[in-house]
């Protein structure tokens, strides 16, 4: 059907001859070629490339995920450290305060105790001294009486006795009736 093309002087010389047998052979061979290659070369080759690309993609994906996980973990740890620091701070503060309070309490108590002791001691001293004084007074009185009685006994004459009684009676208030 293309034979008339060769009649053109420019295309002469058989360059543009169509050999339909060759065309048919090429069609059949190339179809077989494509089928064989698809099945035994391009198919497995593309599958291998896809497989590798998939594995690379997955590796990148998983490493990215792991990275994110590690970052999250790091943040978490930092937070934890910060929290622990804060906690330590509060514990120390609390402990200091408690110790302070305790010390103050203790001081107050010691002071009050001391004061108590001093007060009680004073009271006791006072009490003891008053008792001692009373006793002393009693003793002195007794001694005085004893001494007086001795003096009296040694110096009393019936006349003096009489005079004394009369003086005493004289000092008594006058009873009406």
């Amino acid at each position: 059907m293309f034979s008339n093309l060769t009649a053109l002087p420019l295309l002469a010389g058989g360059l543009t001859d169509i050999d339909l047998m060759l065309t048919v052979f090429t069609l059949i061979l190339f179809t077989l070629f494509v089928i064989v290659l698809s099945k035994f070369a391009w198919g497995p080759l593309l599958a291998a490339i896809d497989e590798r690309e998939k594995s690379i993609r997955e590796a990148i994906e998983s490493s990215r995920k792991q990275n994110a996980e590690a970052a999250a973990l790091l943040a978490q740890h930092k937070e934890l450290v910060r929290e622990i620091g804060a906690e330590r701070e509060t514990i120390i503060k609390k402990a200091t305060k408690e110790a302070e309070d305790f010390r103050a309490d203790l001081m107050a108590k010691a002071r009050s105790d001391g004061e108590d002791i001093v007060r009680r001691a004073k009271e006791q001293i006072e009490r003891e001294s008053s008792v001692a004084l009373a006793k002393l007074r009693e003793e002195v009185a007794d001694l005085a009486i004893l001494g007086a009685s001795k003096i009296v006994a040694s110096s009393m004459t019936p006349e003096a006795q009489k005079k004394l009684v009369s003086e005493f009676v004289g000092s008594l208030p006058k009873v009406k009736n």
């Binding site: 543009t16 047998m21 065309t23 494509v34 290659l37 070369a41 391009w42 593309l46 291998a48 490339i49």
Partner: protein, 329 residues
């Protein structure tokens, strides 16, 4: 490059007219007179050129004069060599072996396919623990590029389904073009019959992309943007139907022309030596380094072109598949 091609055509055209004596023709004719060595003018041409230049007209034997006569009128020897190099040959003896194959291009088509399969299998076997090495790394780079930058980018999420086909296009065109640069070989994709089949397969893939997604009716409805008024439809429907076929047609012509052009350029540049030698021996000798240098340059360019054409064919196939799979954009 353009200049040298022009020079070649001028030389071919003028040589018989200026020097009608048969003794002037032999160095040129010798190229066509030895069929066993014609498969690679790239490798053989310089030695051919050197021989007549050194030995002079002593090489002009009676047998060659006879060949010149057999060549007939109108066809210059140089253009015959050129055509012989780039066109298909029935009953081709690969590498000069005693057996023949039905067609030169069919033979190198099969060789390229086997090479692709070999390279792909080698790549696959180089995988250890999911990572390739050696050939595998190279193949994988190209495979990943075709998958991501060509298939997925232009077809979208349906791209995975078409990736094996696009990879087959890419590697086949690349290997065919690169292998065709070797001496004694040919590029199967420099044959219009072969590129027609490839473009046909691309066309089938494009239609499949639309039909499998929207059904036969939906697919053909999608060819024209929705909601156009009837008068515009009268114009648009033929345009869109035509564009459906021009897409693979362009793929066919582009690949064919690019593969053909490089080989023609290399051959033509190497042919400069015998052509100039036919005019003057000194000119022929002077031409050897120039011709080889320019041919080498084109050869390097061809390596680049091999990659570009493999990429372009695959890319356009993917774009067209994407267009039918997502007609909205």
């Amino acid at each position: 490059m353009m200049l040298s091609a022009l020079l070649l055509t001028l030389a071919v055209a003028q040589a018989p007219h200026q020097e009608p004596a048969p003794s002037a023709a032999p160095p040129v004719v010798e190229m066509t007179a030895t069929p066993a060595e014609e498969h690679s003018p790239a490798a053989e041409a310089p030695s051919h050129a050197a021989a007549p230049a050194n030995e002079g007209h002593a090489a002009a034997t009676a047998a060659e004069g006879h060949a010149a006569a057999a060549e007939g009128e109108g066809h210059g020897g140089a253009s015959a060599v050129l055509m012989h190099h780039v066109t298909d040959q029935a009953g081709y003896h690969p590498l000069g072996l005693p057996f023949s194959v039905p067609s030169k291009h069919l033979f190198f088509l099969i060789v390229a396919m086997l090479l692709v399969i070999l390279a792909a299998r080698l790549a696959l076997s180089s995988y250890k623990d999911g990572a390739p090495s050696g050939v595998g790394s190279v193949v994988e780079t190209l495979v990943v590029y075709v998958r991501d930058e060509i298939a997925i980018k232009n077809i979208g999420h349906d791209g995975a389904k078409f990736t094996p086909l696009l990879l087959s296009f890419f590697f086949f065109i690349l290997f065919a073009a690169l292998f065709g640069l070797l001496p004694f070989s040919a590029t199967a994709t420099g044959n219009l019959s072969v590129t027609m089949a490839l473009a046909g397969i691309s066309f089938v893939a494009q239609m499949y992309a639309g039909i499998s997604k929207y059904g036969v009716v939906g697919h053909f409805k999608n060819l024209v943007p929705h909601g156009l008024p009837a008068p515009i439809l009268i114009v648009m429907i033929p345009i869109e139907v035509m564009s459906m076929f021009t897409k693979p047609f362009a793929l066919m012509i582009r690949l064919f022309a690019n593969m053909l052009a490089g080989h023609m350029m290399i051959t033509a540049l190497l042919m400069l030596v015998p052509l100039c030698a036919a005019i003057s021996q000194t000119l022929g000798v002077v031409m050897i380094p120039i011709s080889l240098g320019m041919a080498l340059f084109i050869m390097c360019l061809e390596i680049l072109v091999a990659f570009i054409q493999a990429y372009v064919f695959t890319l356009f196939s993917a774009i067209f598949i994407g267009m039918y799979a997502h007609p909205a954009h």
